[in-house]
Amino acid sequence: MMKFIKRFYLSIILLFLYVPIVVLIVQSFNAGKSRAKWEGFSFRWYQELFNDPAIMQALYVTISIAILAAIVSTILGTLAAIGIHAMQKRPQSLMMTLTNIPMTMPDIVTGISLMLLFIFTKVERGYWTMLLAHITFDTPYVILSVLPKLKQMNKHSYEAALDLGATPTYALFHVILPEIMPGVITGAMLAFTLSLDDFTISYFTTSPLVQNLSTLIYSQARKGIKPTMNALSALMFMALLLLLLVVNRRSSKTEVKN
């Protein structure tokens, strides 16, 4: 009985989480434009999707910024984590406090502070400022996913490599990097995901001319979202789901091998 209640409770919570998503996906197949009325099944919005220049550009901006921001913040964050890890106690805690600032600040304050910076330095807001902002909020997450791996590493292997004649660059790439790779990958994935889904910070650091999907949705929200947007997000959702299944398959296969 207790078991049934627990399962039932979990199913209710999951239902709560999935209802809006099911609604969105169903709406994307609705032939009509209305949100509430079902007018038959069609792929109309999926066809129109590729002829909608605003959405296609927003998609391009979103994905290219997510990729660029993930790459830059991963490099920046990994180097920073290696440096912070090797620091003395005092500068280390200072750096950690500084790293925690952007994570604890509310998104809206981060966005506004960056907007003020760009206005103050007379930098026109657009694609590049959005990219800079995304790198800024991504990097701390990379650092925080790389640092634990560095702590698990043997302290002396880097110095041993140097003693055995490796240059610092060689030791970095052949001793440290392979050990912390899982953390680096987690950090990169996290940065990519955060950047893909960000609204608030992008909203303040871009101009109306350059929109990512979130800010485009926001600007459409008043007039009513076009069903093509639902179609796009349903597609992206399916793509990610597929990716998850593939990755899961692979990892379970390698587990079996080991």
Partner: protein, 329 residues
């Protein structure tokens, strides 16, 4: 893409400067074998100075100056008394605002109070719903824990604005829930554009952030401890109250942090589901900056927000000094 404007000179200076810095660093690094690793973090240090510290200082600068750049505390007085500017002008013209019925306006303070209250309610509901969820997921004979974590993450892949808008089509007057209610013979109910709808949207968005940290802590907990408590004569509830709950506190604390912080400053959810009837502090900041174009007052509001967040973080640190609850990572 045709619409992407060419970055202005300032951006180029920043980008080129940054790249040059890294190139110099690499050259220096290659020449100097005895170089210490802390140098690796210098690009990031530079980055954080330019993109975190300077912007924060700018907020402080705008908050403490007026339009002409002179030092003033008026922006904070404006927060405390929404009619401050008007009253000041009246006094300058020789009137007494109190006589004319213009008392101190507290719109901003009320908005802040309302936001804190809503965020508090949201946190409590998330905790009440999330703790049992995490507890069930972390039980030893429940094998689906990791799968459920994935199931909780998947909805977050759908754009958060779209998910909130999807709730609109559920709650609308002609929406699905009202359709169902009508079919059941209960009749239509006004579900949208009130605090309840905003609260629902907030709980929906932030619930996973409560479940994950608690689940992580409970999952790592040594189950032998609760077994020992049972062996020593505690009943189920007492074991939970005396052993499990105190041990899971770090997770609860980081869950509370991760729900409360974004909940106070959310501005999309109240705008959509509250339809302008329920302004929250995030809305107020956004409106002050972008609609009223008043950066000074807006900066003062942002500073107040930041101070509040830092204070509550400090309080929470006292409960969980090691930061053990960790984050989602």
């Amino acid at each position: 893409m045709s619409n992407l404007q060419v970055p202005a000179w300032g951006t180029w200076v920043m980008l080129v400067g940054f790249v040059a810095f890294i190139v110099l660093l690499v050259i220096y690094f290659k020449r100097n074998h005895g170089l210490k690793r802390p140098i690796f973090s210098s690009p990031y240090t530079l980055w954080i100075i330019v993109f975190t510290i300077v912007p924060c200082l700018l907020i402080a600068y705008y908050a403490f100056t007026d339009v002409n750049g002179a030092f003033t505390l008026d922006n904070f007085k404006n927060f405390w008394d929404s009619n401050y500017d008007m009253n000041k002008e009246l006094i300058a013209m020789g009137f007494n605002p109190a006589d004319m019925g213009f008392a101190r306006g507290t719109v901003n303070v009320d908005t802040l109070g309302y936001s804190l209250w809503m965020a508090f309610l949201c946190t409590v509901i998330c905790l009440v719903l999330g703790y049992p969820t995490a507890h069930i997921m972390a039980e030893r004979d429940f094998k689906l824990g990791p799968t459920l974590v994935v199931l909780f993450v998947i909805p977050m892949w759908m754009n958060f604005l779209l998910r909130t808008i999807a709730w609109m089509s559920l709650l609308e007057d002609n929406g699905l829930i009202n359709g169902l209610l009508e079919w059941l013979g209960i009749g239509k109910v006004q579900l949208m554009y009130n605090s309840g709808a905003v609260l629902l949207g907030m709980v929906y968005n932030y619930l996973p952030f409560m479940v994950f940290p608690i689940y992580n802590v409970l999952n790592k907990m040594d189950y032998k401890l609760s077994e020992a408590a049972m062996d020593l004569g505690c009943d189920k509830w007492k074991t939970f109250y005396k052993v499990t709950l105190p041990l899971s506190l770090p997770g609860v604390v980081s869950g509370i942090t991760m729900v409360f912080m974004p909940a106070v400053t959310t501005f999309f959810i109240p705008r959509m589901l509250g339809g302008g009837n329920t302004e929250m502090f995030g809305d107020l900041i956004e409106r002050t900056f972008l609609t009223a174009n008043n950066w000074n007052v807006g900066s003062a509001l942002s500073m107040i927000m930041m101070v509040l967040i830092l204070l509550s973080l400090g309080l929470l640190r006292k409960v969980d000094p090691e930061g053990e609850g960790g984050s989602m990572i």
